[in-house]
């Protein structure tokens, strides 16, 4: 292992490869940050250029694009409420409210630090634990995956905002959307209305573009905000300080670990990790009410978790060939072209190449930090553009972005339809977060549950007789009911104490 690490360091620190990493992170950052351009597109475009490079150099370049692109999704999430990837959805929940309050730069700064720390923790953890984790990932079969994703769904109740009823309606609508398309077990089309574009389901990224960006643009137009400014100008001095993240260090560490653990589980991806980390940060926070309205802690949790996933998700991607998200899928395709075969013995047979990937992850995060410090000031200027000019540009880029997903107008229609749905939800004060979580997790929950029930001949006991699912179900019950129990107990104790106090006073009065 040590000689592999030394070999990897000697490869990555060649000057050509350092230049490639800087180039890769710059490309990734621009593509990730601009609405409509995605990190998936960036990796696809860079891929052909790696054919003429050595396998190591090609991987170094792609790693740079992948890391920086995943981080930069948070920039557009914070500034214009358009998460570039499902995994920065939770960042938009707090990032955009901060932008509206004129605190965008603080949000960007925390996101950058949290991302870099999450990425670094993930990469370092992998260097030491990867071969072990690769083995453990196999324990996750259908039953285990159902327990995990079901646990993820319970978060819905805690991001519903003021009205749990509206939150549940929103979540059920999301689950309904997730059932559109060819059913994963029987292969029968559902809710496709014989338009075979819908056989593949409603595209997730198109929905996000609609629900977040297009709906927000409609909302701005509706408020006649076009002539004004998008946000108050930030009077604070715009300097990125490393100590901005210090108050959130525990959140960052916890969230990164959540990111790593969930990233290792095949086929789950970054989004569920950032939801769970966000939920956990909210639960343990001193100011849980601030979450969803502009909490820096929420951004720190979401961003360190989804960057914690970036390196960890490569374990199932490379050892099992199961990519956690579309970017990892293209990354996998690139590695295949460079002669790397995913398989259980990857660490033994191609250890040098594997550690090259991990060392490049570390370097890419460092490069990302340096470039971020310079670039954020320019990105932050976006919010000073008058909305009358900015909104049409964003709308155009979002629709072009939707078009490029499948190179067809169908995706644009989906984005526009969900723009209208999202606008209606804003107007009638329905929270969109539960719906988005349900769309992302719905398919996974359904598929794994039905697979499990086939294996058990229809008996639900399969979920309670295996150790990992049992732990998750106990956890689910705990996080769902514990806050209620605590609340009731406090209330009861309070009344009991006052009653005791009263009777004590009365008693003492009597004795007087």
């Amino acid at each position: 292992m040590l000689e592999n690490i030394l070999y990897a360091i000697s490869v990555v620190f060649l000057w050509q490869n350092i230049v490639l990493i800087l180039l890769g992170t710059a490309i990734g950052m621009v593509f990730g940050a601009l609405p409509g351009l995605t990190v998936t597109l960036a990796v696809t475009l860079v891929l052909p250029f790696t054919f003429d490079l050595s396998p190591e150099s090609g991987i170094v370049l792609l790693t740079g694009v992948y890391c920086a692109g995943t981080y930069a999704g948070s920039i557009s999430a914070i500034l214009i409420n358009t998460p570039g990837t499902p995994s920065s959805v939770a960042t938009a929940w707090d990032g955009f409210p901060l932008t509206r309050k004129g605190r965008s730069f603080e949000a960007l700064s925390v996101a950058l630090h949290a991302s870099v720390l999450g990425g670094l923790i993930s990469a370092v953890a992998l260097i030491f634990f990867a071969p072990m984790l690769a083995k453990a990932a196999l324990a996750f079969g259908p039953t285990e995956r159902f327990a995990l994703t079901f646990f993820g769904l319970t978060i819905i109740s805690r991001v519903s905002g003021n009205s749990l009823t509206k939150g549940l309606i929103s979540a059920l609508f999301g689950l309904l959307i997730a059932t559109v398309g060819v059913d994963p077990i029987m292969g029968v089309p559902r809710f496709s209305f014989n338009t075979f574009y819908l056989y593949g389901g409603v595209g997730m990224i198109e929905v996000f573009i609609g629900i977040f960006a297009v709906a927000e643009i409609f909302n701005q137009i509706g408020k006649r905000a076009v002539a004004g400014v998008l946000s108050k100008d930030d009077s604070r001095r715009k300097i990125i300080r490393w100590n901005a993240i210090v108050p959130h260090y525990w959140t960052v560490i916890k969230s990164s670990v959540i990111g790593i653990v969930i990233g290792v589980i095949p086929g789950t991806g970054g989004s569920i990790a950032s939801f769970i980390a966000y939920d956990e940060a909210k639960r343990s926070s001193k100011e849980p009410d601030n979450f969803g309205k502009g909490s820096l802690e929420g951004i720190a949790a979401s961003e360190s978790a989804n960057n914690g996933v970036t390196a960890a998700t490569l374990i199932p991607t490379l050892t099992l060939g199961i990519p956690g998200n579309t970017v990892a899928a293209i990354f996998l395709g690139a590695l295949l072209i460079h002669g790397l075969t995913p398989g259980p013995q990857l660490f033994e047979n191609q250890g040098g190449l594997m550690y090259t990937i991990m060392i490049s992850f570390i370097l890419a995060n460092v490069a990302m930090y340096i470039q971020g410090r310079f670039a954020l000031k320019s990105f932050d200027k976006i919010i000073n553009i008058p909305p009358g000019i900015l909104l049409p540009i964003i709308l155009t880029m979002c629709l072009i972005g939707a078009y490029t997903i499948s190179n067809s107008l169908n995706s644009v229609i989906v984005a526009l339809v969900f723009g209208c749905v999202g606008y209606a939800m804003i107007k009638f004060e329905y929270p969109t977060a539960p719906m988005v979580i349900a769309i992302i997790l719905g398919g996974m929950v359904e598929e794994s549950m039905r697979q499990s029930l086939i294996l058990s001949d229809g008996s639900a006991m399969i979920f309670l007789t295996r150790p990992i699912p049992l732990v998750f179900f106990i956890l689910t019950v705990f996080v769902t009911f514990f806050p209620v129990v605590i609340q009731q107990w406090r209330k009861w104790r309070k009344t009991a104490v006052t009653r005791n106090l009263k009777s004590f006073r009365e008693n003492s009065k009597d004795s007087e």
Partner: protein, 315 residues
Amino acid sequence: MYEKLMIASIATAATIAAVSMASSQANFPNKPITVIVPYGAGGGTDTTGRFLAKEAEKHLSQPIAVINRSGASGTVGTAEAAAAAPDGYTLYFGASDALITTPHSLKVPYSVDDFRGIVGVSYAPSSIAVRTDSPWETLEDLLAEKDTDTVIDRGHSGVGGVHHTLLKTLFLETGIKFRDIPFQGGSKAIAALRGGHVDLIGGTPGAMLASVDAGETRILALSSPEPLDAFPGVPTFKEKGLDIVATVEWYLLAPNDTPDEVVAILEEAFLKAASSDEFKAFTVTRKQESLVRNGEEIMAKLRSDSEFFGEIINK
């Protein structure tokens, strides 16, 4: 005077148009050619299609652009290619599932008959595999289960695909009891097998090679017409007396009404490209078996495959 001028100019225009039309057939291709790949960028079919296009550009005077029209398991791109103008400038590079098996289980606006062949470049068989700690050492051990009450949990890459169809035939013909657990993609099925969540899977043997080398899984039989060098000692179903041949093919097609002379030009260029050593070496890295077929041969294969899979899927 004025009228004469008009007549003359119309005549000239008509002549130019006629000449250019004639030459457009003779000078094919005189503008860039587009190849539709119905899957996302970076996948197996996409990279193979792009490599083929790159090789074929050497033999055609025009550039070839590969575009990805992904969505709905390849049916979106396939439908678009089937409806494209039959002028030879829009071609289709695909793999068996979207064109051969899907039309039998889903309502799609195309069929094999909407296309004509240009070249078939490679194929991959299906296979069945178990864990190395499984009681079934050989195919015979598995077939012996037909008279027992053992219920086998079988996994595969998705309903209605080539691998699922193979399992369906095998279990129908032998009468072995089973539970059917579909996964989204072959890699997930392999992981489920390795993790002990299913007993047996059907899938591309190339994708299983890594876990076979690691001593974790064992391939019991291949569905190729003949044994393959890449899998020494692994029998085919045919050798063991079961008439099961199922393969995934990779091919380049054109819309059915594309003129013969245009197809002839394309066929010549793409046959050269597919036969080049570079392309053949590339298909090996993608775990495909190189097998170059001309337009007639690949269409004959696709029609008989379509019939074969249709019969099983509708059972």
